[in-house]
């Protein structure tokens, strides 16, 4: 029973309503990062948090819906990158469920794994869309250097994405972990699907 519940597609209302809130958190994270002129995007805090709270399916849905919404509000190219957000949601959900996101070290490792997955999913899209670039100055500088030194495109592009993703995803995972840790149990229990009603009769 417990084993199945991580992948259960039957979501309760609380988990469903968590999705728009998580997308909103992503959006606000990005706005605050922009307003404070921080050098990172910080735009997947909600996805990771939702994945921790309600599992990989909700995490994946958050990621997908996040980018669909970005597609409608900022840049239609985001639709295509929904795939990498889905990857982030699934990985975070699975790792959190397996209890890997406990403590600082666990979160950093989780962040690194998330960054790798995001890179694996995004790189082919980057290559198909932009010949391998990401649009980030530092990443693209590395890409240029690699290209000029005859690296294969997939490697140059992968490294480009990775240098951008590692600091961002590690930071985001740490922030999500910090918030998750402080959440009252009364709230987090609502998103679990396997509660039963005890009888007092």
């Amino acid at each position: 029973m417990k084993k199945n519940s991580m992948w259960s597609l039957k979501l309760n209302t609380a988990s469903l309503v968590l999705i728009p809130a998580a997308v909103g958190i992503n959006y606000i994270g990005k706005l605050f990062a922009g307003a404070l002129k921080l050098p990172l995007w910080l735009d997947s805090i909600g996805t990771i948090l939702a994945a921790c709270l309600a599992g990989p399916i909700v995490g994946a849905l958050c990621g997908a819906i996040n980018n669909i919404i970005y597609g409608f509000t900022l840049d239609p190219v985001s639709f295509i990158y929904a795939l990498s957000q889905v990857g982030i949601g699934i990985v975070a959900g699975v790792l959190a469920y397996k209890g890997k996101m406990k403590g600082l070290v666990g979160s950093i490792i989780t962040g690194l794994i998330i960054a790798c997955v995001a890179t694996v999913v995004s790189t082919p899209i980057n290559i198909a869309m932009y010949g391998g670039q990401t649009g980030n100055i530092w990443g693209d500088a590395l890409f240029t250097w690699c290209t000029a030194n005859q690296f294969p495109t997939w490697l140059a592009s992968g490294l480009d994405e990775l240098v951008v993703d590692i600091p961002d995803k590690v930071a985001v995972t740490l922030i999500a972990f910090g918030i998750y840790k402080a959440l009252p149990k009364k709230l987090t229990i609502l998103y679990k699907n396997d509660q039963a009603i005890e009888s007092l009769d």
Binding site: A14, K186, I189, Q195, A196, I197, E198, S199, L200
Partner: protein, 287 residues
């Protein structure tokens, strides 16, 4: 019209040790207006949510006893079935807006679409409830552009459209300004005149005294009193239960003015006015 029967209701939230409701039993007749009072954490909201099945079906936890709305046993049915008979309105109007609809009209339709009603039936019910709550003129507005009072009336209208036989209002005015609260109280009165049973949790004791047929006083998850407002507000140890009687009752208590017929203190503006006038014109105070 539905009758509510609660038998030995007990409930404990998940992850807590103490019962939030401790063996509560009562019966409410069809069409009654019930005021529920008590201090914070007395169990008022928990009781409200138990009547709709949010407790135990949303929160889980530990549950005992039975709640019947007519012959429907609440805990044994899903919330979506129970909500056809009992509607509930909460304190914060913002959090009750679905957020997925762009106009007030569509917002009201949300519950009706879920019930699977036909279009014509929906439109008829929406028009009726918008007019009953006096917000028909805002039907094309975005729900979030309404004032607090209007938004709360929209929340009530969206419940009314589902034609429940009982409506529960959990502090419906505490987030509103005086004008907004007045709008909501007037709306609640018109519901009561339609014959709908009403249970209302409220901290404004003057309002409770003015509207209620009976008042239920809770303390620490137990029902302490359930009687007419005059009887409940005349209780000597009321403050011990974290409740302050209406200003009118407190004045009359201090002046020792009791209603000769039932031996209770006046609880409303009108009763107090009458009693004090009587005193001035030669009536006798106890002191």
């Amino acid at each position: 019209m539905a009758k509510i029967v609660v038998e030995h209701l007990k409930y404990r939230y998940p992850l807590t040790d103490e019962l939030a409701l401790k063996d509560i039993s009562f019966t409410i007749e069809p069409g009654e207006f019930i005021g529920i009072i008590g201090e914070n954490n007395a169990g008022k909201s928990t009781l409200c949510q138990a009547l709709v099945g949010i407790i135990p079906n949303f929160y889980k936890g530990a549950y005992g006893g039975k709640v019947f709305i007519d012959d429907l046993e609440v805990a044994k049915h899903s919330i979506s079935e129970v909500c056809r008979k009992v509607g509930i309105v909460f304190q914060n109007p913002f959090n009750q807006v679905t957020g997925s609809k762009l106009t007030v009209y569509e917002e009201i339709a949300f519950g009706l679409e879920n019930m699977g009603l036909s279009r014509t039936e929906m439109m008829e019910r929406i028009d009726y409830s918008l007019k009953l709550l006096d917000i028909y003129q805002y039907k094309d507005r975005n729900p979030f552009d309404l004032s607090g009072g209007q938004m709360q009336r929209m929340a009530i209208a969206s419940i009314i459209a589902m034609r429940p036989e009982v409506i529960i209002l959990d502090e419906p005015t505490s987030q509103l300004d005086p004008q907004g609260s007045e709008e909501v109280f007037r709306a609640v009165q018109s519901l009561s005149q339609e014959g709908i049973s009403i249970l209302m949790v409220e901290h404004k004791m003057e309002k409770i005294a003015a509207y209620s047929d009976r008042v239920m006083l809770l303390k620490d998850g137990k029902m302490v009193a359930f009687d007419t407002p005059q009887k409940v507000f005349s209780l000597e140890n009321l403050e011990q239960y974290g409740v302050n009687a209406p200003a009118f009752t407190r004045i009359c208590k201090k002046l020792g003015i009791k209603n000769q017929k039932n031996g209770c203190y006046p609880v409303t503006l009108e009763e107090a006015e009458g009693a004090i006038n009587l005193l001035k014109n030669g009536g006798i105070a106890d002191e």
